[in-house]
Symmetry: C2
Subunit: 476 residues, 2 copies
């Protein structure tokens, strides 16, 4: 404890000294003049955030009163109504919603059994977007691959008529980078398998846990390539198959899915604003997605994000003096089924995007934020970092200039919009992600409050900044 | 590391000194004369156990090649065949099986939804032995109780026509004592609920995890009291209901179970023996149960126990000089559904029980053994403890004289048979117990090997001892 205390104290002193130094060295700098009072307000906002329970109350309310809210379902519309009611009750300057056409997918049942050499039931889940198996299910040998790449290198003869089993393991990292390595097997595995004549695909779940729960998530088909049923099995089930393969390479599986794609429905991006005091047409966008998968209650994905950005904006709404720019909270529709709300927003707001000062989405659970990455003009990158120096008191380091911004704002940099990634500790995120285990108990209130503090700090500083962030850095 | 090393060294030196002291103080004691060479052999057995992978190979084989093996099912008979084959292959002096009539229960489907005030699906599982709900399911208000005791104190008016929700939380303890406190709600809750006119019971799972998995386990009905359907919900689901109750005390649930009791079938206790060299008719019994619940692969419950006692006996089988008494490995049938194999054994071997020197069952997962409890004649208790002194080198303390012996031998003390409890660290046992999560990956090979070492050490010492353990201590 003492060591930690000393480290925190040292960091604080260092941050204070840095700020002083900066003032001394650049007495006439526009940046510095603005940054000091802004930093003070930002830190006050952060302090209030750390004392507030609002974000936890919001995610509790959403998970308890709505729960699972798969895009295009009745529950999805209930979530939209929940959000409209909450945002109105919180007293934002503006609250509105914008229609989004979302694909509707029904999970149905998912059953799989290894029928030989040792009969054992498996715990699986259908991947989002998968078609059903034919009447009576599929019974076929399985063929195992280490990865999607290994499948791509296989011959048609190895794969045709079989159920492809991609056995990639997802490794645990604070940044979640293990997911990036394996998720292609989920999203594109069915295409590669079908190209070689596979009859179905059942992957090892993209998850870092050893719970006997399968992780769902979106998969895609490709025009002109046969559609085959796609599912994921839990990590212990994948281990079981490997143990069987050591004994006998001839393994057969029986697979039944009754999933169905059911066309399109109307959902909504729900939006709230704190109107800017002097530049109301300029927007600092902080977002999250309102939809969730259907098996958990959507707590860490992405009830937490909804709560974080809403609570952060509410703190700014309650300031006696609003910041210059408008803070816009966007609760996106249908992220899980293909970033649909994000894409629709980018399209519908195309004319306004040049007025988007910066955008960031919270969609990585409720772990503490440890780093602030940006994607701004490289010439002003360090200046912008300096504006955020006091975020170090919240345990956040200043990172790189290669931020993606988050899923629903990931298309904005291509359209010239600066973004930021407030990077969360996702060490356990992929233990629960896209499983029934995505429930409220996985959220630590203190960590959630730290997120609110960092978002409020970030949004306020950005809404006051006088630096032109454009043109943004190219992707390396 | 250094601290640990020093602690281990200190323990070792202390144990050595104690042994020396004992010899000095009691130069003519019969106990000491026997204990020294026996202790040396016991420690050699333990050393071999720590280097052996046999137990892990056995539990891997059982979980992979058989998997779930609910009493009275085809898989149960497959497990019996697996055990006969393994025990024969290991070269025990005798291998045989004894018929046991076991109740057959079929799980069927289990579905529950909170229908008001907020519609949400729950993750539940049927309790073993439960009847089905009527056609069309049950739709009724729920009534919550803190515990089985609170239910017992309720009025009929509070309970009649409702679904009882017992909300007891099971707390984590090394000894597993949290389970003992709450399990009555599972086993006897349906009787108390039905006595007051409840239409069903759905308890908070008897589990220490926060996974969204429900824990099954046996429940009972009582002659003359109505049978009502009984299920358990996961801990996060119980939390969800509590959060709803804060908003609205009127909660309704829809419940569907299709469970069925299907009469009786024949299963088997599978037995292997290392024949004693000089007292072959006297028995040191080390047991475990072969059956498992149906949702996991029965790794920690009780594949681990099967592997531990089998591997321990195999080490003794391979000794050049067998111990005086017979080591009998009993792999009990149908423990989960009511200690059926244990009761049948006690009945069928009634005439032979006076020749049972001591009995112990391994049925608490694969955590390391930390304490050896006994139930022997109080007059010789300390003498018997002294025989086991060298078990301290395995990290095991000598405990009390109030051992139960384990579920399937728990009826033996009433019949005069001494028992021992080789107590395992069960800190995480009730995270996985009776869920789909009971899979091989939950077993740490090193801990499993320590169990084998302690069982081999214990069994050998007991098979050589010259102390009369009877009459055993009364239960305090």
């Amino acid at each position: 404890m003492k060591l930690l205390y000393r480290a925190a104290l040292t960091a604080l002193v260092f941050a204070t000294l840095s700020a002083c130094q900066h003032t001394d060295n650049n007495p006439t700098s526009n940046v510095t003049e603005v940054s000091n009072p802004d930093s003070a307000v930002a830190q006050q906002l952060a302090s209030k955030a750390l004392e507030s329970n609002l974000a936890y109350e919001l995610v509790e309310s959403l998970t308890v009163e709505v729960g699972p809210r798969l895009a295009g379902t009745e529950k999805d519309l209930l979530a939209v109504q929940w959000a409209m009611d909450k945002l109105n009750a919180l007293g934002f300057d503006k609250v509105y919603k914008e229609a989004v056409q979302v694909p509707v997918w029904h999970r149905g049942i998912a059953q799989a059994t290894i029928t030989a050499p040792f009969e054992q039931p498996l715990v699986i889940t259908a991947l989002g977007g998968s078609i059903a198996t034919p009447e009576g299910g599929i019974h076929a040998p399985i063929v195992r691959f280490d990865s999607l790449d290994a499948l791509k290198q296989a011959s048609r003869e190895q794969v045709a008529g079989k159920i492809v089993f991609i056995d990639h393991k997802t490794h645990r990292h604070k940044s979640g980078k293990g997911y990036v390595i394996t998720v292609g097997g989920r999203s594109r595995g069915a295409i590669s398998a079908a190209e070689k004549g596979a009859v179905a695909i059942v992957i090892r779940s993209i998850g870092t846990d050893s719970d006997r729960m399968a992780h769902t998530g979106m998969m895609r088909y490709k025009e002109g390539i046969a559609k085959i049923p796609a599912a994921a099995m839990s990590n212990p089930d994948a281990d079981l198959i490997n143990a069987m393969l050591k004994r006998d390479t001839n393994i057969t599986m029986s697979l039944t899915l009754s999933s169905e794609n059911q066309g399109f429905a109307t959902s909504y991006n729900v939006i709230a604003e704190v109107t800017g005091s002097s530049k109301p047409d300029e927007v600092v966008l902080i977002g999250a997605h309102l939809d969730s998968w259907d098996e958990g209650t959507g707590a860490i994905d992405d009830g937490a994000g909804v709560a974080i950005v809403t609570a952060a904006a509410k703190l700014i709404q309650d300031l006696p003096q609003k910041p210059a720019r408008t803070i816009r909270v966007v609760l996106y529709a249908a992220e899980e089924v293909g970033l649909v709300g994000g894409k629709t927003y980018a399209k519908d707001h195309a004319d306004e995007l040049e007025k988007h000062y910066i955008a960031a989405e919270s969609d990585f659970g409720a772990g503490k934020i440890y780093q602030l990455d940006l994607r701004v003009n490289p010439a002003v990158f360090e200046q912008v970092q300096q504006l955020h120096t006091s975020v170090s008191t919240l345990g956040v380091a200043l990172g790189n200039n290669q931020a993606s911004g988050g899923p629903d704002v990931s298309m904005l940099p291509r359209l010239g919009v600066p973004v930021a990634s407030l990077r969360q500790d996702g060490s356990d995120y992929f233990d629960y992600h896209h499983t029934p285990n995505d429930t409220l108990d996985k959220i630590v209130p203190e960590s959630l409050a730290q997120n609110v503090a960092v978002y409020a700090h970030f949004a306020y500083i950005m809404a006051q900044s006088n630096i032109n962030l454009r043109p943004i850095a190219k992707k390396q």
